[in-house]
């Protein structure tokens, strides 16, 4: 079996009430020991030392346990362990309550004990016993003297005996003197003859060396002999000179019984005196023994009480300490803390209430966490939704503070709205002047948040005029956004433009169909009239007819040209796409204008430009239109025309970019957005369809065109064509055009 396991088992065995029961048993043993000591029983006599050792060992164990517990308690007190202070106080109180009364009782008991033992002894009793002993001795002395005389007489008779010393002589002497025993020894102590009154007796009381030595020196041995017979005997041993051997003496030993009365009294006196002397002698050791026993009982009681104080203080404080730890854990946010269910008392009720409280808190926390997670998911969902919306979404509160804005809003407004979150909407206008109209249109609606509104807002920015369709509605009341609004806006510029383009296309088609057809009969009719009646009319009328028909024919021609131009714009020819070198085509077209007196060409073409897929004729028409537009835009010829080409590698969408600039009057800012619409022009000459057709051709090839004013004066057009192998996304193109 493992040592650790044994220690663990021992700890468990000695822990708690078992140890107290053990201590109590030891205490009871000590009490039994004390009781035995009082009675002087044989059991006590045998177990005394064992019990003493057991008690001392128990005492040491208790001391060690208390020391260990005290050390642990002090350490916990120093470390501010919850409950240690209360345990310390309880232990101190328990100890005071147990030690003080026990110590008082101990002192009184000890004093009472000592006085009780002392009261057993009295000087007068001791003196009386001494006196009775002396009296007994005196009484015996009288008898002794008689017997000495009798023994002397017997030795005298024996010394004169000539017939030899034999048992018969001794027998007659014994019968005459009432002696119990007569024995004759030689000087070396050998038995020569004996005579006993009791027939069962065969061996006399022997002389020891000391007795024999004294007798051999001529002294007489006289003494009480309580040992050889049941009653007290007076023992006499006396030397005498033998008549047969002159050089040798013999010894006569005689044992005379004391009178029964005298013997009994002497026996009693001797016994009482001996017992009293022994008791008197043992008085101090007896006090020590009682003191030791009582002290052991006291110590065991006190230490058991102290140990019990530790045990019960710990048991009492355990739920409180657990509560303190639990409270601290709850304060630290650990709501799952559950305490050991208490007993059916007030503390148990407290513990159970605490458990119920933490359970509810934990439940509420879980629910809150779940709600928060759900809210976050919802928020993320909304964020994703808003970020994927093509419409701009802006939320503001009643004071006009921007709360949220999606990425589409940034793109539409061409501003970083994220930097303005938490600021007033007017800050948007201050930071981005081109959005001042936007802010001015929204702010009046903030005062009436409950009313839904919808408005078309036109913005004039660097990209020209843009139209936003803006609508606002009240937000449900949430924290921080009381009476706020959600503002949704879309850039409808492209859509309006497309609608306009479609309208113009329809107009052109109708013109081609409704006007072009009657023109030829009109022209033919006018020419027939002229041909038929010019010669027949008088000169004056003929001149009028000639002039009128000429005007009709000329105007019809003009109308035809106009209708042709419209049909050119309106028709959607089938493109003959092929790979062409844009640089070569530019050079080819520009060669036609080289040497023209009204134009100065500045050409910078990128030699790395790849081929594009386009209809050669349409692109050529585009280039001619651009050159003509530049020529017509200039008031003071010659016009400087800058033509550049670049190869772009942006966004994995390689493109060829063509820049055409002039030094003309430029574009009116308010017309910047409509410059590519039919009949929108600032030039005195021209059909007003040139740039519209250019834009149409560009869009037919999946490209895009942008027009702007140069800072140094004049217009600048940027045309972008996708290269072979890439597909231009129309939306992208539109978006860039917006930008």
């Amino acid at each position: 079996m493992d040592t650790g396991y044994l220690i663990q088992r021992l700890n468990r065995l000695l822990n708690g009430p078992r140890l107290l029961v053990l201590a109590l048993l030891l205490l009871l043993s000590s009490l039994y020991l004390m009781s035995g000591a009082t009675e002087g029983s044989a059991t006590f006599s045998q177990l005394y030392i064992i019990l003493l050792v057991v008690n001392v060992v128990a005492l040491i164990i208790l001391l060690a346990l208390i020391a260990a517990k005290l050390y642990r308690l002090l350490r916990q007190y120093r470390d501010n362990v919850p409950g240690s202070r209360m345990t310390m106080r309880l232990v101190a109180v328990f100890m005071m309550l147990s030690i003080v009364p026990v110590t008082v009782v101990y002192n009184f008991s000890l004093d009472f004990l000592h006085r009780g033992i002392d009261s057993w002894f009295d000087v007068r009793v001791e003196q009386a016993l001494e006196d009775s002993l002396e009296l007994s001795r005196n009484a015996l002395d009288v008898r002794t003297r008689e017997l000495v005389r009798l023994t002397e007489q017997l030795t005298l008779e024996l010394s004169m005996e000539t017939g030899g010393l034999n048992a018969l002589t001794l027998n007659s002497m014994r019968e005459r003197t009432e002696a119990t025993e007569l024995a004759l020894f030689d000087s070396r102590g050998h038995v020569l003859a004996t005579s006993f009154s009791a027939t069962s007796k065969l061996v006399p009381a022997l002389l020891n060396d000391a007795m024999r030595s004294r007798i051999n020196q001529g002294e007489t041995y006289i003494g009480l002999d309580p040992f050889h017979y049941d009653t007290l005997h007076m023992r006499m041993a006396m030397p005498f000179q033998s008549s047969s051997k002159l050089n040798e003496h013999h010894i006569l030993q005689a044992l005379f019984p004391l009178p029964a009365r005298m013997g009994g009294l002497a026996e009693n006196v001797q016994q009482a005196y001996t017992q009293y002397k022994e008791l008197a002698y043992l008085r101090q050791p007896l006090k020590y023994t009682f003191t030791l026993t009582l002290s052991l009982v006291l110590l065991l009681t006190m230490l058991s009480a102290v140990l019990a104080a530790f045990y019960y203080a710990r048991r009492l404080v355990a739920p409180i300490r657990e509560l303190a730890e639990g409270t601290r854990a709850v304060a630290d946010g650990e709501y799952g803390k559950m305490l050991t269910p208490g007993k059916n008392d007030e503390l148990g009720f407290l513990v159970n209430s605490f458990n119920e409280m933490t359970r509810r808190i934990a439940q509420a926390r879980d629910e809150a966490r779940e709600s928060q997670t759900r809210l976050q998911e919802q928020h993320a969902y909304l964020e994703t939704l808003l970020s994927r919306l093509s419409s701009g979404v802006l939320t503001v509160n009643a004071e006009g503070i921007i709360h949220t804005a999606n990425t589409a809003a940034d793109a539409i407004l061409d501003a970083q709205l994220g930097d303005l979150i938490g600021r007033h909407l007017e800050g948007l206008g201050w930071r981005h002047p081109h959005l001042a109209q936007f802010v001015a249109a929204i702010v009046p609606h903030l005062g009436n948040p409950q009313q839904e509104w919808r408005e078309e807002i036109s913005l004039f920015g660097p990209g020209g005029r843009r139209t936003l369709m803006c609508s606002g509605s009240a937000l449900p009341t949430v924290s921080g956004l009381a009476q706020g609004q959600v503002i949704v806006f879309d850039d409808v510029t492209a859509m309006i433009q497309a609608q306009r383009d479609a309208a113009w296309g329809e107009v052109a088609r109708r013109l081609a169909h409704e006007i072009k057809n009657p023109l030829t009969p009109i022209q033919l009719s006018a020419e027939r009239l002229r041909h038929k009646y010019l010669k027949s009319l008088p000169p004056r009328d003929a001149e009028t007819l000639d002039r009128s028909t000429h005007t009709i024919v000329q105007q019809v021609e003009t109308l035809k040209e106009m209708v042709k131009a419209f049909s050119e714009y309106a028709r959607a020819p089938r493109l003959n796409l092929q790979a062409i070198d844009l640089n070569a085509l530019i050079n080819e077209v520009l060669d036609l204008y080289r040497g023209h007196k009204d134009i100065r060409l500045h050409v910078d073409l990128d030699a790395r430009s790849p081929q594009i897929e386009a209809d050669l004729g349409r692109i050529r028409q585009l280039l001619h239109n651009m050159v003509k537009n530049a020529l017509e835009a200039s008031d003071t010829p010659p016009t400087s025309l800058y033509v550049e080409s670049h190869c772009l590698q942006e966004d994995a969408c390689p493109a060829v970019e063509l820049h055409v600039s002039d030094n003309g009057r430029g574009i009116e800012p308010e017309l910047l957005a409509q410059i590519f619409e039919p009949y929108v022009t600032t030039k005195p000459k021209g059909s007003g369809l040139g740039l519209a057709i250019v834009k149409k051709i560009v869009e037919e090839h999946g490209g895009m065109i942008r027009g702007e004013n140069r800072p140094e004066g004049g217009a600048h057009f940027t045309i972008r064509f996708p290269v072979i192998g890439t597909q231009a996304v129309p939306n992208e193109a539109v978006k860039e055009q917006k930008a």
């Binding site: 030392i49 002993l133 020891n208 040992f227 050791p285 002290s295």
Partner: protein, 196 residues
């Protein structure tokens, strides 16, 4: 020790005194020790017709404390132990015989005699003086072992000691006797090699 005892009487605070006695009693009593210890002066084993007999001479030095107890009626039990061993080369020595003799010495005030009782056979002998009683007790003569148990030619040795039996003292006196060196009267184990 005397001073400690007085203090205990005066203050009635014996707990401290007990602790002092337990801890320092040994040194205190040892410092007052004046009587000679029990001394085995000589011992010899004689081969008889039937058995081997052990004869020894022992000096008993009873100190004042023990004499006071004796003259106040306390019986003293003195025990003699003797062990005869045969030496063996490869294994432990064999105990051939063992001899335990217990004597009780008691004083009678009326007759002023010292009675020595052999507790093994209850035989009694009385003496006029203590020295005579101790002399008699000190001249030891007893049968040690039958002859057939002792193998001649084999090495033998004898161990012997003598001591006052504290366990036989009256119970109140025993704790003090255990703690006091004045009551711890005993000889060492004496050992003799025997030529047999």
């Amino acid at each position: 020790m005397v001073s400690i005892t007085r203090y205990c009487k005066r203050t009635s605070w014996p707990l401290l005194c007990i602790a002092l006695c337990l801890g320092g009693g040994q040194a205190g009593f040892a410092a007052e020790e004046d009587g000679p210890p029990f001394l085995i002066r000589s011992a010899e084993v004689e081969r008889g017709e039937q058995s081997y007999r052990l004869r020894g001479i022992i000096d008993f030095g009873l100190n004042d404390t023990v004499l006071e107890a004796l003259h106040n009626g306390v019986s003293l039990t003195i025990e003699t132990q003797a062990r005869l061993y045969r030496q063996r080369d490869w294994i432990w020595d064999k105990q051939v015989s063992g001899l335990d003799r217990r004597y009780r010495l008691r004083y009678f005030a009326l007759s002023q005699l010292y009675l020595l009782t052999n507790l093994d056979d209850e035989s009694k002998r009385s003496f006029l003086s203590l020295s005579a009683a101790l002399y008699n007790l000190g001249h030891f003569d007893a049968e040690l072992a039958p002859r057939h148990e002792v193998l001649s030619g084999q090495p033998h040795y004898l161990r012997m000691r003598i001591f006052l039996d504290i366990e036989s003292l009256p119970a109140p006196l025993r704790p003090l006797a255990y703690m006091s060196s004045r009551w711890r009267l005993k000889s060492k184990w004496h050992e003799w090699t025997l030529d047999i």
